[in-house]
Amino acid sequence: MDKKASKSKWNLTPEGWNLEGVPAYQDEKRYTQVGRSVPRVDGPIKVKGEAIYTGDMTLPGMVYGKIKRSTYAHAIIKKIDYSKALELPGVLTVITGEEAPNKWGIVPQAANETALAVGKVRFYGEGVAAVAALDEETAEAALELIDVEYEPLPVLLDPFESMERAKEVLIHEDSPGNILHEGEQVYGDVDKAFAECEYVLEREFHTNYPQHGFLEPHSALASYDPQNGHLHLWASTQVPHYLHRQMSIVLEIPMNKIRVTLPAIGGGFGGKGEAAASEFVACLLSRKVGRPVKVTYERNEVFFTNKGRHPCHMKVKMGLDKDGYIQAIDFDNTMDKGAYSGWGIVVLFYTASMLHLPYKVPNARFRGRSVYTNKPSTGAMRGLGGVQPRWAMECLLDELAEMMGISPYELKMKNAIESGHTCINNMFVPHTEYKKCLQTAVEKSGYLEKHGKLSFGKGIGMAGGYYITGTAYTLYQNYKPHTSVMIRVDTEAGVTLFCAAADIGQGSNTVMAQMVAEEMGIHFEDVNVQAGDTEIGAFDLGSFASRLTYAAGAAIKMACVEINQKIKETAAGMLGCRADQLIIKNREIYSMYESKKRLPWEKAVEAYTSINGSLVSLGNFSPPRRKGIDLITGNRVQGANIGHSPTFGFSAQVHEVEVDVETGRIYVKKVTEAGDCGTPVNPMSVEGQVEGSIMFNLGACLYEDQKLDAEGKHLNPNFHDYKTPTTMEMPEMDTNIVESYDPTAPFGVKETGEGAVQPTFPAITNAIYDAIGVRFYNLPITPEMVLKALKEKKTTSCDCKCSKEC
């Protein structure tokens, strides 16, 4: 109760952050705005139901668009006859894929998606035509009047079958073998290292096919102005910039005539991290009818077109020396790409990069391929490319620890990296508190006292994880800064931050306001944030890859240099001292040597503005690049460009489970988490991200899986049959933010929203093993699997002498 009482006192008084006796300029970590659990700036309008999401918007003359969807998973489109639909009163127009055949894709080298299918469909539910009508009911009725003639093709739903039958049937004519991309990354001498290992273990792991389940379905509202050729699109997206760029390609309209605006966004988790057909269709229809058009998906359309997590079929081999130090990893990954490329190549190589941390790995070999199938495309989903290999590696380490007869905790601590670690693939970790994460989670949960000692049916498991922060590369060839911000200061609007960053629910607008306030010595409430608009905001790549807090933080710091300097110069003249002796804190400017020389911050702004007008400054952020030619040695630096990142966040989790041996049901009872997110800009938001992460992958580990029938028809495109965790499934959660500060990062920050999903799969899997002595290598781990395994165990090892009663 005390914790709660103090929490509600977020509105700290100035005494709460009094710096008396400690010179602020001596301690850069001594923050007043960063590190506070202030409530979100958009909290009140959201609880009042006043936040406007795209689907809530109406424009004068607005009409509705609906998409006709394929009833085949793989078929040639012979003919589309929409003449009857056009005759229906209220129908304004019908379009088909032929009207916008330009291909789009977030990775341009492999772009192969079209707004609507052209010539053939590649998954069940793919859009084949779209209608604009005066109301939704008419649009829906018109869809029924569109006749599509198909010539069915063999449906390939399994990546191995897809490769095998590629001679017989190709999903994309330009992708031989039905392979989007195949790659290899070898570092060190893996075979030699294995030969010298004392402990070697090889296993196969198969992951499932979950999707994001963001609560707000895709929605897009497009308004094309035929008089000046401008297109304004409001859309529920994580990536306003990439959407903007792809819209320009598909519609053949220059980017400067397209504006993308983000209303409130109801979650994304990666699923809105690419453009969506709804957005192209809304724009195409609007341009054709000259009126605003809104396209909002039904829930089943979200499932049909989702870009969920890649099912991975992984062969993983790991070797340790006699002391338990990892010597080599051999990793073979076959990824199920679904129908279109999307993020595919990126995800493939992320899985390769993810092998190299958070443990020291001196030799590693990766072979992988991303294979087309006739399923909804897979894409970016929270913890992209990390979740699957992390699951495999953390489970393998658990098994290896058992082989060695030591605790998994000991094995992981032994191999965990430390600050300043350079991986063999040239990834560099400037700072980490990973060991502290492991230690905190283990100590707080009592893992060592419980592991291997609980009664049959009860178990405890641990695992670690990490994720990139800030990302290193744009997805198309360009070296422009990844984030730009513009800050305007004057007497009229106070302080306004302009940045096209997307607040998709994670709270970036609040965190950016805190960072601006920190850097300028004012309060977070003083900062207005204009975000999520490609015309008003300065450039930002988007909300993905846990990049935003780091990137925006760096850009904000840069923009504030000039602003603070000018305000200080003005104040210096007013106070009669040197500008470089001034400090700005708590809305006041004062001399660090003569504290009587002080004046309110806004007085200096007023003085500056009345002489010069508004004060405006730009800042930007470009991540360091760690691939190419080493300037000192002249050697070419090999390295996976994907996964390189300015810094990394870390997390460790301990899960305690109970397995009902009668029903096979698994209950996660308690989770103890410890995370290294650098400086938590807003600790309450960090907790929210971590708790959400645990829920997200707890669901995907135990329940969530999309099912298709033999013809590729989606069998559970709704929340009734696709089960996500509710309040009743949630365990007690003890999340801990370990003390951490990355001196190379703006404000010392790192990610938190994706690192914390990584340990969940393996921690649960390891806990189930501890509970019932069965290791699972397939996800999700269903009651059926548990019962089957228990039955097999009984018949095969009923006379075993293990500590568990079998």
């Binding site: 609880v47 006043e50 689907g55 707000e216 979650g267 829920m695 959660m733």
Partner: protein
Amino acid sequence: MKQLIELDINNRVYEVAVDARDLLLDVIRKKVGLTGTKKGCGEGDCGACTVLIDGKPELACIKLAIACQGKKITTIEGLIQEGGALHPIQQAFVDYGAVQCGFCTPGMILSAKGLLDRNPHPTEYDIKHELSGNICRCTGYKKIIEAVEAAAQVWSKEGVK
């Protein structure tokens, strides 16, 4: 064949022309214009469209509008207090970080209100049980449950309309 019906929403009577098959959710959002009630699934699975009908949480996406005549409907917009102040549940959701993307929030708050109206001193289990029909994909529910617990305490101390 449309008919004119009266719906009492947030203590105001709206006259709306509806088809017999029109859903309460669509009427509230499109005809009345109160967009705080969200459509997450349209199939009664996610709880985003929860409204109170005669004080009881109901799913507006699977409720016919004509069946709601003569009943008192409360949407999220109806919770606002005098002078624009937030209802204690709304305030607690803000203070405890129970809101992220916000799309489940209106339904979640109304489910919580339905509970607290009926049971002002709920246990943690009561809260979990009552909110189990509202899916949230952002928060992991922990802060939502904490917020409802906190609101119950404020409510029982200070009272609220």
